[in-house]
Symmetry: C2
Subunit: 417 residues, 2 copies
Amino acid sequence: MSDSIPIDSVGLVEPQLHHFDEPLTLRSGKVLAEFDLMVETYGELNAERSNAVLICHALSGDHHAAGYHSVDDAKPGWWDACIGPGKAIDTNLFFVVCLNNLGGCAGSTGPTSINPDSNKYYGPDFPVVTVRDWVRSQAMLMDRLDIEKWAAVIGGSLGGMQVLRWAISYPERLRHAICIAAAPKLSAQNIAFNEVARHSITSDPFFHAGRYLEHGTYPKQGLMLARMVGHITYLSDGAMRSKFGKTVTDFELEGANFGRDLRTGTLSFGFNVDFQVESYLHYQGERFSENFDANTYLLMTKALDYFDPSVDFDGDLSRAFMNGDCKFMLMSFSTDWRFPPERSRELVNDLLKADREVTYLEIDADQGHDAFLLAIPRYVNAFSAYLKRAHRELMSNDPDREPTQKRYPVTENNNAP
Amino acid sequence: MSDSIPIDSVGLVEPQLHHFDEPLTLRSGKVLAEFDLMVETYGELNAERSNAVLICHALSGDHHAAGYHSVDDAKPGWWDACIGPGKAIDTNLFFVVCLNNLGGCAGSTGPTSINPDSNKYYGPDFPVVTVRDWVRSQAMLMDRLDIEKWAAVIGGSLGGMQVLRWAISYPERLRHAICIAAAPKLSAQNIAFNEVARHSITSDPFFHAGRYLEHGTYPKQGLMLARMVGHITYLSDGAMRSKFGKTVTDFELEGANFGRDLRTGTLSFGFNVDFQVESYLHYQGERFSENFDANTYLLMTKALDYFDPSVDFDGDLSRAFMNGDCKFMLMSFSTDWRFPPERSRELVNDLLKADREVTYLEIDADQGHDAFLLAIPRYVNAFSAYLKRAHRELMSNDPDREPTQKRYPVTENNNAP
């Protein structure tokens, strides 16, 4: 392994493609007759097959959560700050599984895959997938890996929603549900931002009703705009201010130079970029639009919008958590205005109402929603301590916890996406 | 006057076009050899010519602040909630002047005007105008109207920035500066949202580098998107929630029906509109894009971004307010996340540091930034009481206040936009 790979990294990793022939009936009623899931794993599964944790990715994530695909990679996987030997999700203790969700664009079956019915790209014909569908496909992968019960299911943002769905749909198949910077459903404002993102993609003339690959084109501007809007909502006002608000020195990121804050320098008096934050947003939008599929972006935002497990329980979310005995760990970040702490507290209240064991931590952090991706000391320390305790509990095989029993009859009517 | 016009309205009003032959040198160095300003006035100028107040409009406003152009108008002017007989800005007491700013698209010279040099539309050749430029042109209008001193200069949002500029550039020409829901400069997040709006316009293929009128086209989608993003930032999360978050009944606005909140109904499992908030945003964007010029939108957002009077005073805004003796009234709204109360408090501190008289009110209101346009009781009552007092003071001609003296030498270096 190269010297350039940090010692606390999982190192070089290789994704594995799992093909599923069993049909999957989606929440929409449509059926995927067969599908692929692209998967990465880190660490070792123990003999009891009890130390596996599932990582669920957010809107723009994929299976590549940690480590490097090549020594030449500029960056490691998206959650490398939290996954690795000695890190919060300690690969010395756990066997970590992460997959690209259905509808994604990083190897799992999605809009850029070939539709076996037509031998063309799925494109816009790829069915709308929901959080529930993802969790079902993750359970199929779980069976394939011969894992009976996850030591933990872990995710932030849209990933946190999958964690909640696991605890509701498969209450007997996880010991810990770790849900970070998430919410039990989107606010109208969240949906509004998603709709702006979708509208910017679908109104791009190169979108061609989603069949851009067949046309050999790409709605680059639309996707770029969508990401720019998204990116603003991931950062706190304070984080932007400290990054761009006051400095008059050059600002660099990943080798790109964003120039000076021209507010204190020469103004262009035109519509060129005058402020660092503008060039930074362009850079983020541009980079993203070169690496992500527009139809996947549409699908992911729709899965976010649709998520609301309470609809199966007459709007009373607490009833969704009446079954199972997994323990919950929730974390939120003070400046996250996409899914603010208030939303996590709502969830805590519903979990307590359902008589569930909950650990909740609000972390003071300036970085907004993106904080969950970063190695913020109080966050990773709490995260790490919780999972270490979970691992000890697992090893001691606490008899109080076995066997898992349904404590209430299932009353879910299975309509929620 | 028609029965359909409310009794507390200024009634039917007619705009007047003022032509200026004197050249105006803009902050950018460019010169407008001549220009028009479209103006409306309400109420009567008194014999002393002392009761005139200037209303400065925000991003999408114009000269039509109150009353109706025709009995058939569906809606009155944009600030009719606050301007009229007996209203906060009482036309029984004051002579109210409002103009469409330079660069606008409602009659004053702007991108949709004919450039006398080329006999074509100005389009993108219309120079970038700044808040300082607007205030200069407003002072020219003031001279034309033979008004020596405004009883008050009043504005919200970008209009509030013009109020601040008046107090700095013409400290001896106003008695009261009423600055509502504004900030002394934009945050990086504000600029980021503006840049997204601009990018959505300029990347629209029908934008044609700003020469869409010559091409007989229009960047409708780009402007629509820009407005959708803007609109989200004008409303609070709470306002959106109470408007769209819970209701399952049809939601109507201005005769348009936005359907049910389909979260509790049937989901489309496609990319059609599923939630009220989506159709509401489409409606707002669509309506706006049919009535506003895209180049003007670019100019207005750039004027916002550039505003920062502190740059002439080494970043110390308090020094900008060392001259003059106008009194300040500032108001902000609790859920305004575009220009939150915190930004007004910053300004209050700088004004106090400059030894100025300041009245400041934070109003609890659920409506976000848009609250300043609405007849919220505590807001309009305080606004009204302040202006009534100002009027009494004017009538008593308080000798303490005359003559206006510069209390400090002007140290401004005139670089700020």
